[in-house]
Amino acid sequence: MNKRQSILLQRTYLILVFCFMYLPIAVMIVFSFNESKSRALFTGFTLDWYKSLFHNDMILSALGASLVLALISSVIATVVGTLATIGINSMSRKSQFIINNISYVPVVNPEIITGVSLMLLFVFAQKLGLGGEGGLFGWITLLIAHITFNVPYVIFNVGPKLRQLDPSIYNAALDLGCTPKQAFFKVIMPQLTPAILSAFLICLTYSIDDFMISYFNSGTMQTLPIAIYAMTRKKVSPEINALSAIMFVVILAIILISNHMDSLQYKRTQSAVRTAMTEEGNKA
């Protein structure tokens, strides 16, 4: 097999795999505009499913709950996680090893185990009388569960960044008259900010997307994935197609924008480097 044939074969294969990955999504988007409830025959164009989706109180309130939950849990997880990273960093190697390994548990454990183990904890707490008449399950349990699975991601995102920092920069700040506090907030924090921000975004997406862990700890509360699950149990509901189409477009837009910003950033640094280099050249 010569090189050109091999490349042709690879391209064809890639296209086939991408078809496999995208065809189901494409079908959903097409059928979100379908007039009848049929999921196999396209009978005519309509936007009715989108309209009824936006009048579906269950979906709207679930979306609201998901967003609020994601925002609060991510903020708390980011703060707690960042503080933890700083604390862990100044511990002995042995304690670091132990803490990191325990933090890995929610990351590597099957989600269903994390879900039921937290549920058991809350059931246990209820037996002890916590939560009173209405029981514990609802906002508070969801919030605890989401923070619990989010904090490790913050630690594993910010930790490597903190270890990479050059310790002499901090010491230089101290030598130049900073108090340790000032040195931390003016020198260390700005360098950690990108990692903290990306950890925060990861938390947001995990939190909005989570079904398995929320499912066991939500009580009667509905987050968006739980509402979607309830809809899929009803067999025929074309509103799901409309919801999928909207989500796909939103995700695509976010990815394209962030990609565009990255490339802008890249071009800016490139041109800055180039001007710096030509200036150097002019001097010489």
């Binding site: 990955m21 700083i86 933090s103 183990s117 246990f124 989500m247």
Partner: protein, 273 residues
């Protein structure tokens, strides 16, 4: 730097949190698994699991099938992606990750509509006089759902491992007389072993513990471990003790599996997150 005794206290809130919400729940699972409804020690729950051995076997077999299919499908993808020009690689990676960002319930639902008896695929086959085939509510549909949902988790680590393989190594092997098969077996597979190990873990663990895919695509007849556990905790056969025992067994299965795959490479997990 920053290694003062006082800064250690910054970790205190997390350590408390970790203790209460990560460590304690695991012990409560063990406690529930080893006690009866009245709270006295018993091994009944563990003994009862024997009755469900067929479900456990089915979970392991279907998850293993899905993992093997993912590996075979993803290996050429990872290789082709890693040989593209860098700017093309970025676009392709985006395309691999995009479906991952869709909620997996929606992705699975999409297949539900495709595989139905009067769904799109059967209509299509019907035009050629084939079928209708029974596709939904079969074990095959469950494996398909697993492959579809977790394929990106196999492609990404394979791709990462293969970007580290230099073209010249492959060319050298070919110059020294390796044919395609030899290059694959002696060069590509050993050098991407860490990626293979990570990919296998990341597909097998969620596959073996799922309950959504089996419920949506497998009908009532393809129960998996996840379905059993869900039934004990939130379903009709409410029995927290038995459910905990099942969770404990699942956890042990996953741990044994991971200690096996992680022996290939321990640092790789960090790259995935």
């Amino acid at each position: 730097m920053l290694k003062s005794k006082t800064s250690r206290w910054a970790a205190a809130p997390y350590l408390v949190w970790m203790g209460v919400f990560i460590v304690v729940p695991l012990f409560i699972v063990i406690y529930f698994a080893l006690t009866g409804a009245k709270g006295s020690f018993t091994l009944d729950n563990m003994a009862q699991i024997g009755r469900y051995s067929s479900v456990f076997a089915r979970s392991l077999i279907l998850a293993a099938e899905a993992t093997v299919i993912c590996l075979i499908m993803a290996f050429p993808v990872g290789y082709s992606l890693s040989r593209l020009r860098v700017n093309k690689q970025h676009i392709m990676l985006m395309l691999v990750m995009l479906p991952m960002w869709m909620n997996f319930l929606l992705r699975t639902y999409a297949w539900m509509t495709l595989l139905e008896n009067n769904g799109l695929i059967n209509r299509f086959l019907g035009m050629f006089g084939i079928g209708p085939l029974q596709m939904i509510n079969t074990a095959g549909a469950v494996v398909l759902g697993m492959v579809y949902n977790y394929l990106p988790y196999m492609i990404l680590p394979l791709y990462t491992a293969m970007t580290k393989i230099d073209d010249s190594i492959i060319e050298a092997a070919q110059d020294l007389g390796c044919n395609t098969l030899h290059t694959l077996v002696k060069i590509l597979i050993p050098l991407s072993a860490p990626g293979i190990a990570t990919g296998i873990t990341m597909v097998f663990v969620p596959s073996v513990s799922t309950f959504i895919i089996s419920r949506m695509l497998g009908g009532g007849s393809n129960l998996l471990i996840g379905d059993l556990i869900e039934l004990q905790f939130l379903g009709n056969s409410y029995n927290l003790n038995l459910g905990s025992a099942m969770s404990l067994v699942l956890m042990v299965i996953v741990l044994v599996f991971m200690s096996f795959t992680s022996s290939f490479d321990e640092s790789e997990m960090e790259g995935v997150m």
